[in-house]
Amino acid sequence: MGSSSSSRNKIPNAQELMDQTGFSSAHLLRLRDRFESLDRNNRGYLSRDDFEALGGLAMNPIGGRIIEAFFSSGQDTVDFSSFVRILAHFRPTDRNRNKEGTQQELPSSRTRKLKFAFQLYDLDRDGKISREELLQVLRAMLGLQVTEEQLQSIAERAIQEADLDKDDAISFDEFKKSLEKMDIDTKMSVSFLK
């Protein structure tokens, strides 16, 4: 196991990661352990099949998209700092830190969280959720419970509700506005305590 100081030395850029993501060193250590247990072949990075080995994720309707979210465009591997940066979106929002004013925006802020969720829809990264993209997600989530026409109607209606500039797609701002009443901060938080 080793002492905590020597383990922290194994994590490159630990201090920088802590500053950018807001994780504490204890969190980082735990995430490091988790990373190493996911990395079955001890390669020092994760690939898609490492993620797919997780049973729960495989049964998740949007599991594929979640996995994709870890990989930055074009790459096939996830190293530890990317792993941590993605997971940092799910830290509970620190309300107090913002009062210090000049903090750079943490991944766990509400906007960043919403951006993350937005990108689960917007696979082609054009900044808008088109009707087709919405339909794909709906199809994945609702599965065989609904007929195709019902899916179309639901998507139609959802776009009507949110689409303010009538371009038949949902931009990030419209997305944010439609969720303004929802408590994203708590909903999109995972407790990283052991």
Binding site: I66, L87, A117, L144, Q150, S153, S178
Partner: protein, 715 residues
Amino acid sequence: MAALWTLSLLLSASLLGCLAVTSPDGSSLPHNLPPSLGTNSSDGSLSVDLPMALRVFSMDYHHVQAPFEIVLWIMLASLAKLGFHWSGRVPAVVPESCVLIMVGLLVGGVIYGVRHSAPPTLSADAFFLFLLPPIVLDAGYFLPGRLFFENLGTILWYAVLGTLWNVLGIGLSLYGVCLLAQSSLGDVSLLHCLLFGSLIAAVDPVAVLSVFQEMQVNEQLHILVFGESLLNDAVTVVLYKLFESFLRLPSVSGLDVLLGGCRVVVVGIGGLCVGLFFGLLAALTSRFTSRAQVIAPLFVFLYSYLSYLTSEMLHLSGIMAIVTCAATMKQYVEANVSERSNTSIQYFLKMWSSVSETLIFIFLGVSTIQDIHMWSWPFVCSTLLLCLIWRATGVLLLTAFVNKLRRNAVTFRDQFIIAYGGLRGAICFSLVFLIDDFPKKRLFITTTIVVILFTVFVQGMTIKPLVELLYVKRKKRALPTLSEEIHSRLIDHLVAGIEDVVGYWGQHYWKDKFEQFNKKYLRRFLIRNDRQASSSILRVYQELERREQRGVEEEAPPIVDPRSQGRPLLPEEMESIRRILSRNLQNFNNKQTPAYSRHTLHQDTSVDRTRKPLYRHQSLGERYSYNTITHFQGEDGGLSEPQRVRTGLSRSHTVCSISPRSTLLDSSDSAGPAQTRSMDPKAAREDLVSPKHQETVERAARKHLSFVLENEKQQ
């Protein structure tokens, strides 16, 4: 309003009359009877004094006495309730429970004045066996499941540990007070104090419900207080019986205390298991009720009551059993049983629980007027103070602990409401009557009554202004928009996935696991034809659809040009639809009532309703389809005739139906050749098929979902 009050007064008078007729021997009372035409025989029946054996007019009260009096009491209670709601500003200031107790006090006083003896009291048996189950059943059936389980840890924490803290605290400090006031209270032993503590410490679900429903607090707070009041029954029952049996034992050893601790667990989990068992049985039974639909609601009540009685028989927690039973069977019963039966179940639940609650409060008032009071200033006042103090400190301590583990911290304001909203009610009252007789029993009874009256009146009346003063987060009232529902679901899946990655088994993990188990095994086994479970997104969507249809009936919508769904809607269609939707949604949102409303079924408005899955309604052998028939153009006017009739019928039954995908494929296959024939393929399909089969038309028609407005069909 005045009429109602006079009516209730008349009723009380007739109650008195009945009681007078059955007056105990030896006391002379005025008879408020209709003028007698003949002699009064000693058993209270009148007869015309004719030499003949034939009696033209006679009255035999004893024959119907018991049911007659019961009905009169219930009538009095209900009229009082009606009067309360019609009486202007009173409901805003005074909670209903207070008014009912006051009415009870009044009636009790009058009866006492007339008869000079104690009025009928609430017997513990009647309370526990007849009056309490409907209320708890109603609460359990409408329990918001997801919210409850999300907060289950906190609720258990408060219920078990909080109750223990209160019981021990109040018991021990009361004993201290008794020791101090040696002169008057010297003969109250430690065990007696602990026994008293155990029954007075428990928060009462009936009182809590009746006060909190009139206050709009956020759901989380409501579920915390309410869940606690339900679950602490297990602890209360065990502690009460424990101390009672300790009182009977010659001596108490450490082993007995340990066994007592085990008993808490057994009682709680035992009640849970009994409830689960009967719940699943009820779900299974409801699967087979399609041929005798009128009986279906009866099974719900029978099984729930059976679970309650069984666990009472086994000395387990009856409240937990009945709540678990109701919560378990709900989703399966709703899926299996027709729409009308569902409505009947919900209405009967509300009705019975309403009547029960009213009766309980009135009897509380009536039973206060008794001969057997014993007053002792130090005891009563210290009990009141100690109850408040121990509850406040308990809540503070426990919350400080539990906030570290929760995502949504329980704020100070919430804590205040939890502590202040710990009302005592009829459960304490009945329990105190059940104590074995000992010299100071009357003192206990008096103190219990004082505490109940204090909490219900003072705390009940002041909690609403205090809440407003503290700006407790109010309940969000709006139905979530479809976007919110969709995105919320996405985020749920997302967080579950991330928790998988991180390896943290949060509540999402267990929720997902349970849902999978539910879908794979339970639903298949317990639901008829395994109708597909509608996801909540679908339900919200269909609920919104249903509302706009109903809303449109009331107003004249602009003409929309409806066509089949495949192509995107024209701009003017969208505009009119959106206008109608926003207008109707606003209207419906304004009519919302809170979830646990005693007085109305939350028809269109609460989230609970939207969770109900939709299914094909088959009643009386006919098939109704609803609002899913595409409208065709004028040339098919002749064709639309039979359908118009059918839709007219269907509207009155307000049933929705979804066709599974297989039907879609079937009809499209059969309609394939028709498509090439005419310009409007869907209309042609109707053309082709409907002369042959009414049913096929329905099936084909049903698969079209469109924003069809009611009025359109009439054209």
